[in-house]
Symmetry: C2
């Protein structure tokens, strides 16, 4: 048994006006609580330092850049990084990244128990749109404010296992898990902010959307024999509801813990990383069963092309 | 609305001693019943003409070949094909195929309402093993008796939609659905025979295995915005239980019909193929959202390679 005690740290809403310092105080409280329960890794949400700003249409660079971090850690987040190092707790943390070259990404980093950043990920599957869309019930402008990630889906040996990351909408794409599965991933960490209603289909509410969320996380876990740790930002941000559904999913695809509120809430589970082995050695022994000669379209073609009518 | 009324025709067990003529009589009864309920397409199981023979270890070619069909239709199945054509009902039918060159495949065909074979598929993801395995509770010798399919995952316009096929274990592999999704598939048909207990893990019984089955079919449907029609052969064949769980899954990933017995049983649903459009045009608009530059490992590498320790 290779036991890794993981805390899945859901955040309740962050209002537009809430300063990062207040948010970091909340993250610190969840970190301390997780440590108190024996966790050596805490997974925080996507864009964990601010409100989910891609719902707001902005034109000026200065207004946009105010939501971004120029370095990580920085003055505001350093106390969190310091405390995590003192406690010997690794972290997955999502934030909006502005590079020295002025590029913007939806990013997450992983620190080890010594407080070192050992892995960085930039969100590949950006949902939403670029321009203001009057036909939507609300905006989802990730394609406006971020470039698609340029780092692929890297994994790293850290915290005793093979660790991988993705962010929010990535979880709906089986390619995400598979590319990590092909690198032997044992823990997929992901943070998310997901509106409770489909902006383009009012009849699709939180129950249907939680179903899709669970389905995606559970199938990704099962089909790659990996733990999946999914941490939500939840609740109502300035009138805009986000569903919760923070999850810890085992390598069999079963949910072993799920959040019960839409507030700051901690799930803790002792994950046995050795439980990944059975699936990887039998039904999902990729080397024996995958037939890459028939998968060509997956990389040859981005969009679908139906046969002629 | 493009309505296609589909019958999902589950079979109860076929004992080793049951002749194909008797099985065809059962298939005909299900076909007639489906027609009576308005269906113009019936989906039958994998290896629908015989018992699930890969559980039996055989060495001689003659003994093996007795389970295979040299042509389709043939003398035994012609009455089924004739009746389907008379009724104007298309069929998905799974059978063991022996080619003129002596090659063996786990195959399915699709006929249109005129009784013509419009699509052929040969199972790509063969589970199990080649040699007798004394460590298993029972044998699963698909890799002994079949070659992996050599036709990829083709789709065809037929019966008013874009139709695709896979077989049994294929449904656990997201590549299966994705390759068809990239060809605009609207209905994925699949037959299966799945033991109720994991031959390598006695604690994994029918409840866990039905969960994995549903999870795989539902995520494949949702993530590609396609109907999935899954027809089981079920029940106890010569002491070996197969679970049922025949399903009709909508393009939202929701189960709209599921079998209730382990006997011959028919599910019928009026599938609106236009319901595939919303997902394909929004969250799963592949052209806008897929990032093939990060999927390379999916086709470069069959097996998993973890980073060095």
């Amino acid at each position: 048994m290779r036991k890794l005690v993981i805390g899945c740290a859901q955040l309740g809403p962050i209002q537009k006006s809430e300063p990062r310092e207040m948010v970091v105080t909340r993250l610190m409280a969840l970190l301390e609580k997780a440590h108190g329960q024996g966790a050596t890794l805490v997974v925080f949400p996507e864009l964990a330092l601010t409100t989910f700003f891609p719902r707001w249409y902005m034109e000026g660079d200065a207004e946009v850049d105010a939501w971004f971090e120029r370095e990580m850690p920085n003055a505001v987040t350093r106390p969190l990084f310091d405390r995590a190092r003192e406690l010997g707790v690794g972290m997955y943390l999502g934030y909006a990244e502005l590079t020295p070259e002025g590029r913007r990404f939806n990013t997450s980093i992983l620190t080890n128990t010594a407080g070192e950043i050992v892995l960085k990920y930039r969100k590949v599957h950006l949902p939403g749109h670029v321009e203001f869309d009057p036909d939507r019930a609300f905006q989802h402008l990730e394609k406006r404010y971020f470039e698609p990630g340029d780092l692929g889906f890297p994994v790293a040996r850290a915290l005793g296992g093979v660790m991988g990351m993705c962010i929010c909408n990535d979880r709906r794409w089986p390619e995400t898990y598979r590319v990590m599965g092909l690198q032997g991933v044992e823990v997929v960490m992901l943070g998310f902010n997901t509106p409770s209603v489909n902006s383009q289909k009012a009849s699709e509410g939180p129950e249907a959307r939680l179903f899709h969320h669970r389905l995606s996380c559970q199938s990704g876990a099962y089909q790659n024999s990996t733990w999946v740790i999914a941490a939500a930002k939840a609740g109502v941000e300035d009138g805009h509801p986000l569903f919760a559904g923070s999850l810890i999913v085992d390598p069999d695809g079963q949910i072993v813990a799920e959040s019960e509120t839409e507030e700051d809430e901690l799930l803790v589970h002792a994950c046995d990383l050795d439980r990944c082995a059975f699936g990887k050695d039998t039904i999902f022994d990729f080397a024996r069963h995958r037939r890459v000669e028939h998968y060509g379209l997956i990389t040859q073609r981005a969009g679908a092309e139906a046969p002629p009518e």
